[in-house]
């Protein structure tokens, strides 16, 4: 889910990531609606409210809505900033870090709400801000690593895309197009996951209240842990394959693989150093 970037991603990678994050978004959105009477994952409505508040001249409410929109955008900015900066160092880390920040944010909301929330307006708006920031992070991450093919915190674009894709499937030229069918499957799955998350959140709300965020944190931690496990497995398999291939090429060195690899590293480094010194003397 988090190990690959853009063109290297398979439809299954996108489907897994899309479904889980959409489920989380649905849960968070309904939790925020029931707890704070405001949406935290879809920003379009906030833009409409912003326009209405400007017309009415209510500067306080306008500033609140503007801050929420801005924080959603900062979340998205942060996610993409981390992805493009750390991607060359470690792809998994670059993709997992925004999720880790999101988990910290949502856990923070859950713990604060569970233990300290006194229902003041300042607290409500602060917690909403954190939730919008975390949803921005999630949306930015999923969009960034999937080459903008999946966005999981709102369904406007998905509903539009599905409408277009369904109309294409009605046409004889595209009827058997595999790519369109895969895309339809992906978008439908995201939509269903979002709604299911919302329903589950609504059903569990009266029992869990702020503890809902612990469930969300566990789900997101599952994504990170699953991918970490896959990264480790892949590394292990790769290492074993390399060792086996080396053993077949150099059977005499099979008993001292570690020594051989150190020697090999030295033999690769020395000429480079010599080349560098030669370059220095020439200068």
């Amino acid at each position: 889910m988090l190990r690959k970037l853009n063109i290297n991603r398979t439809p299954t990678d996108n489907l897994q990531l899309g479904v889980i994050t959409a489920f989380v978004s649905g849960m968070v959105n309904i939790a925020s609606l029931l707890l704070f009477f405001a949406f935290s994952s879809n920003v379009t409505g906030h833009f409409a409210i912003l326009a209405a508040e400007i017309v009415q001249g209510d500067w306080y409410q306008m500033s609140v809505v503007f801050s929420w929109i801005f924080l959603f955008m900062i979340g998205s900015f942060t996610a993409n900033f981390i992805v493009i900066r750390l991607n060359k160092i470690n792809t998994y880390l670059a993709h997992a870090l925004p999720l880790v920040i999101e988990i910290i944010c949502l856990l923070g909301v859950g713990i604060y709400g569970d233990l300290f929330y006194a229902e003041t307006l300042a607290e409500t708006e602060l917690l909403m801000s954190i939730m919008l920031f975390s949803m921005g992070l999630q949306n930015g991450l999923t969009a960034s690593i999937s080459n903008f093919s999946i966005k999981t915190t709102h369904l406007t674009g998905i509903t539009t895309d599905l409408g277009i894709l369904f109309s294409m499937l009605m046409h004889p030229d595209f009827k058997h197009n595999k790519e369109i069918k895969i895309r339809c499957q992906l978008l439908l799955s995201i939509m269903i996951a979002y709604v299911t998350g919302g329903i589950l959140s609504g059903l569990c709300y009266y029992q869990l209240y702020f503890k809902l965020f612990y469930v969300v944190a566990v789900l997101l931690s599952g994504v990170i842990a699953y991918d970490l496990y896959r990264v480790r497995i892949t590394k292990f398999i790769h290492k074993r394959q390399l060792q086996t291939s080396l053993n077949t090429v150099h059977p005499s060195r099979s008993s001292s693989w570690r020594n051989w690899s150190i020697k090999a590293k030295k033999s690769l480094t020395l000429p480079t150093l010599r080349d560098d010194s030669r370059l220095l003397t020439q200068d």
């Binding site: 609606l33 009477f37 409210i49 306080y60 609140v64 929420w68 229902e119 708006e125 602060l126 801000s129």
Partner: protein, 148 residues
């Protein structure tokens, strides 16, 4: 170095907007504190919009069951989150809080019952709230108060 500076300036802007919001929130919440006398209680969906005075009772078939009718009451919003509702017939207490972007007034009664109102208008002299039946739609019952 430049990119890190850009990143932190964005973060700083975000923090500033949160700070600004939290500071103003206190002010917004305080604007409700005080005693408010109920003047009108009307159905907004009714085309005739007949105002109901204190002791008038009108049966409306479209009225949701969960609506509690408040008649000629004085609502005393205290800074500690307690609301004292008083009239010739009723004396009760509830917890009040503002939610959303200060647009939703939530009243929680000791028996677990809750009422949600949309704050339609608030200024120094008057307060207008609508009973909220749905989050996206304005409620049908409109209550108008004046500050005592």
């Amino acid at each position: 170095m430049k990119t890190i500076a850009i990143f932190f300036s964005w973060m700083l802007l975000g923090c500033l907007s949160i700070l600004l919001m939290a500071t103003n929130a206190h002010e917004s919440q305080n604007s409700l504190v005080g005693k408010w006398t109920e003047q009108k209680w009307e159905y907004e969906t009714d085309s005739t919009k007949v105002p109901l005075t204190s002791l008038q009772t009108t049966q409306n078939p479209t009225m949701p069951m969960q609506v509690i009718r408040h008649q000629a009451e004085v609502w005393d919003f205290q800074p500690n989150g307690t609301l004292r509702i008083a009239s010739a017939l009723v004396q009760k207490e509830a917890k009040w809080s503002l939610k959303g972007r200060a647009n939703v007034l939530v009243l929680a009664y000791p028996d677990g019952q809750q009422e949600h109102y949309q704050v339609t208008q608030i200024d120094d002299k008057s307060l207008v709230i609508n009973f909220e039946s749905q989050i996206q739609a304005r409620g049908i019952a409109k209550l108008t108060f004046t500050r005592q």
